[in-house]
């Protein structure tokens, strides 16, 4: 996978955290995903289509998801419920949409977000499309971005 495709998603995540979660987020070293690889407990997933196809997911441990959505909302959430699910979906939506401006050559469309909640669930990409995991961290804990992308 071309690194030029990964950076827009990392940059969009860092910008989103700085602007609306009010935290600095940092990216670790991207790694090729080896199947099956369990994600964290809560994942927001957006499908990508157009002159390329794939998906982007942002995945959090349960406690980090609660804290991040609380910071995003500016109001503490204590229970894993619809507020956290909606918040994680919106974070994924903003990352995917914002990254598109640096990927305009692919004429990408983004799907509505899907959110998966469950301990150590696995995000399965489409067969034949390589997936990259980028470990991320912020002062509230670790999380990850997972990008699966293939040009036509």
């Amino acid at each position: 996978m071309n690194v030029a495709f990964i950076n827009p998603f990392i940059n969009a995540t860092i910008l989103l955290f700085k602007t609306m979660v009010h935290l600095d987020a940092f990216a670790g070293k991207p790694a090729l995903k080896k199947q099956p690889f369990p994600a964290y407990d809560v994942s927001g997933i957006i499908g990508l289509s157009g002159d390329a196809q794939g998906s982007v997911a942002i995945s959090f441990p349960r406690l980090v998801a609660l804290k991040v959505v609380s910071a995003f909302l500016g109001s503490e959430i204590k229970i894993m419920g619809s507020e956290v699910v909606d918040g994680i979906g919106e974070l994924a939506n903003i990352i995917a949409g914002n990254a598109k401006q640096d990927l305009s050559q692919y004429n990408l469309s983004i799907s509505l977000p899907q959110v998966v909640v469950g301990n150590d669930h696995v995000i399965s990409g489409q067969t034949g499309i390589p997936a990259i995991i980028i470990p991320m961290t912020c002062s509230l804990g670790n999380f990850a971005i997972e990008i699966s992308f293939k040009t036509k």
Partner: protein, 118 residues
Amino acid sequence: MRILLVDDSSTMRRIQKTQLNNLGVTDIFEAGNGEEGLEILANTTALDYILLDWNMPVMDGITFLKKVRGNGAYAGIKIIMCTSESEKTRVIEALKSGANDYIIKPFTPDAIKEKLKL
């Protein structure tokens, strides 16, 4: 000032509402998609602004925008896109379809303040 928020994310609507409240705006209506937005428009008078998301289920923002701009009764309402759709082609499409301005998510409270001239 009366504002309608049209966004499928309840989280985003809460963030926008808090920011608007902090700017002194309290007359706020909410819709989760374009269809709900049209229902509120039909039953509400004297709206000043609509903050409009693009990607939503049932009826998306661009369809809603074209329907509203196709109805002269709503000509006085300023519509500001507030969406993660960030490419120039999308911005141009929205402005050509009748949007008055465009905010790209993520945004700061200052962006809302500036675009709504508060």
